[in-house]
């Protein structure tokens, strides 16, 4: 097999491909080759045709120099924020005049065309990026990322390509780098079933969880669910459903743990998304009235995991082993930042130690539930 004369032409092609692919790994200078290709990718990705080149043209700020947000832009803060390596975040939403969010399905709000959302990321006191999404007239969403200059005088549209994790790295000091997501990465989390994450009934509940990891103090003037309903920006809230949704749980640890998993994992791991076939539902629903009935327990605790434990221990892996954090794949992948193991799989390069400790405590607590599967016996 090693004799090249026996290798079919097609395989020879792959060999050449491999060699050429590896060129940039050694800094062999493929930049000239890449330029025309990037232009082609740009053509495939229609995002730049719709998102302004400059953040200031999205309408977020009424006064760019003073960074005063426009009067018709609402600030909000989810009670279970997504972990992004300790970034300080600010979030805003604007609905077109005269429109409202249809909340008749309280778990899947329908946003009017033209809805705009922004999320600003800052590290060490400096704005680094602002992510932006807007609903188009045809119901689809455009996604963009604006990268701030070091002096925060400009925030320009990030290069977007169809490739994975092709973005602009921002040096944060201390050897850490914050990666700006590609447009493809945007869509990895913001899928068609749940495009808007973090602006939902539970996240905007006035009954905020004091134990939520990295809970943020409410910004001045922040809107919540009750406020949205009172001013008519959220309509058709189903009768009989609490206006201040809260995760039912046996303990404060369980409440916070489920909230964290909802906010950080439930965007993908839910029962109605593109990967619903995994049958792993970490999202909270208003239907989850009883903690014992929560899908998170039924689909995770004691359930086989297709992914191995990152630590490589032997035995059939389980997603969560009640009372045994070290043998729970879910926690093991949260603890990992190896590219093939880490969870979430993108958007973070630093383990969330506070969350790991919280989930470990919750898994320990699960051992005390009479209905929970017991510890593994094959150790």
């Amino acid at each position: 097999m090693a004799n090249a004369t026996f290798i079919p032409a097609s395989s020879m092609g792959m060999t050449l491909v491999s060699i050429a692919l590896a060129a940039p790994l050694l800094g062999l200078g493929a930049a000239l080759v890449l330029r025309s290709d990037a232009e082609e990718v740009q053509a495939i990705d229609t995002l730049p045709e719709h998102a302004p080149d400059d953040l200031r043209d999205t309408g977020l700020y009424a006064d760019w120099t003073g960074k005063r947000v426009a009067d018709d832009v609402l600030v909000y803060s989810p009670q279970y924020p997504l972990w992004t390596d300790g970034a300080r975040k600010a979030r805003w939403i604007r609905l077109p005049p005269g429109t409202a969010i249809d909340a008749s399905d309280p778990d899947a709000w329908e946003f009017p065309a033209g809805t705009q959302l922004w999320k600003e990321f800052a590290f060490e006191g400096r704005r680094v990026e602002t992510r932006y999404m807007q609903r188009r007239a045809d119901g689809s969403w455009l996604y963009a990322t604006y990268v701030w200059s070091a002096d925060e005088s400009t925030a320009r549209l990030s290069a977007t390509t169809g490739g994975v994790a092709v973005g602009v790295d921002v040096e944060l000091g201390g050897g850490r780098r914050h990666a700006i997501p590609s447009s493809a990465d945007c869509r990895a989390c913001h899928d068609d079933v749940a495009p808007v994450l973090g602006f939902s009934a539970l996240q905007l509940s006035s009954d905020r969880d004091p134990d939520a990891p990295h809970a943020e103090p409410l910004p001045t003037g922040a809107i919540d669910l009750r406020g949205l309903l009172s001013v008519g920006l959220v309509r058709d809230w189903p009768a009989g459903i609490d206006l201040a949704p809260r995760i039912a749980a046996r303990t404060p640890v369980e409440r916070a743990a489920r909230g964290y998993l909802h906010g950080n994992c439930g965007g993908c791991h839910r029962d109605d998304g593109p990967i619903a076939a995994l049958d792993m539902d970490l999202a909270w629903s208003v239907a989850d009235a009883s903690d014992d009935d929560a899908p998170i327990v039924a689909t995770s605790v004691g359930r086989p995991s297709r992914a191995p434990l990152p630590s490589g221990r032997e035995g059939a892996p389980l997603r969560i082993v009640a009372g045994d954090p070290d043998h729970s794949v879910l926690l093991g992948r949260m603890r990992s930042r190896a590219p093939i193991h880490q969870m979430p799989p993108l958007g973070t390069s630093v383990v969330d130690d506070d969350a790991v400790a919280l989930i470990a405590r919750w898994i320990d607590e699960l051992d005390e539930r009479p209905s929970a599967p017991r510890k593994r016996t094959n150790r």
């Binding site: 097999m1 090693a2 026996f6 290798i7 079919p8 097609s10 395989s11 092609g13 792959m14 060999t15 491909v17 491999s18 060699i19 050429a20 692919l21 590896a22 060129a23 940039p24 790994l25 050694l26 493929a30 080759v33 890449l34 025309s36 290709d37 990037a38 082609e40 990718v41 495939i44 390509t161 169809g162 490739g163 994975v164 994790a165 092709v166 790295d169 850490r176 780098r177 990666a179 493809a184 990465d185 869509r187 990895a188 989390c189 899928d191 993908c268 593109p274 990967i275 076939a277 995994l278 191995p308 930042r337 190896a338 590219p339 093939i340 193991h341 880490q342 799989p345 993108l346 390069s349």
Partner: protein, 195 residues
């Protein structure tokens, strides 16, 4: 290491796109032009079979075996990926120089600066192949370069930027054909990421 690995992977994949773009741009256009918007499942499957077999899918996702004319895909293991029972030893360390990538004799294992990749089982087997996948998962995987469209990065040498040039209809046809490939239970090893 993670950032470095990501950068390397990024460069790698960009290069993959660069390499393929010249020939692929016209190929994709031809493919799109040739797409006749199949109106029934049979013609869609046939379209998918054509794309999968005419493209490079067969080469890396079907183990090679030595035959009278040299190594060739073993069609009895069509699209079943790297054989689970073929445990690869650690790849030999290459000396400094222009040699960078190693390929296993089955053409289903590849070693390079990113680590070791084993080609996936694309048959309809529900537990080890694509049997439980949906068309959307398949299309999203190609579009995002991530497992199931959401998970870990797809590793070299999978030229997903090339495949991403196909239309949604063509990708859907490929998936529909793959769902007809007889299931072969073969749990492909997880990739090994270079430390």
């Amino acid at each position: 290491m993670k950032t470095t690995a990501k950068l390397l992977l990024t460069s790698y994949l960009l290069a993959a796109l660069a390499l393929f773009s010249g020939c692929n741009a016209s190929a994709a256009q031809d493919a799109a032009a040739a797409s006749a918007e199949p109106t029934d499942r049979a013609s869609r499957i046939e379209r998918g079979r054509y794309l999968v077999h005419a493209g490079l899918c067969i080469d890396c996702h079907t183990p090679f075996a030595m035959g009278p004319n040299g190594p060739a895909p073993d069609m009895t293991r069509l699209l079943s990926g790297h054989p689970a029972d073929l445990q690869m030893p650690p790849p030999p360390e290459l000396p400094p120089g222009p040699w960078l990538v190693l390929m296993g004799a089955t053409n289903t294992a590849f070693a390079g600066p990113w680590g070791v990749t084993f080609s996936a089982n694309l048959t309809s087997d529900p537990d080890t192949g694509l049997g439980r996948w949906t068309e959307q998962m398949f299309v999203d995987t190609i579009r995002t370069g991530r497992h199931m469209g959401k998970g870990r990065p797809i590793l070299p040498p999978m030229p997903y930027p090339l495949v991403a040039n196909y239309t949604d209809e063509d990708l859907g046809a490929m998936f529909e054909y793959l769902q007809t490939v007889p299931p072969i239970s073969n749990r492909v090893p997880d990739p090994i990421v270079a430390q």
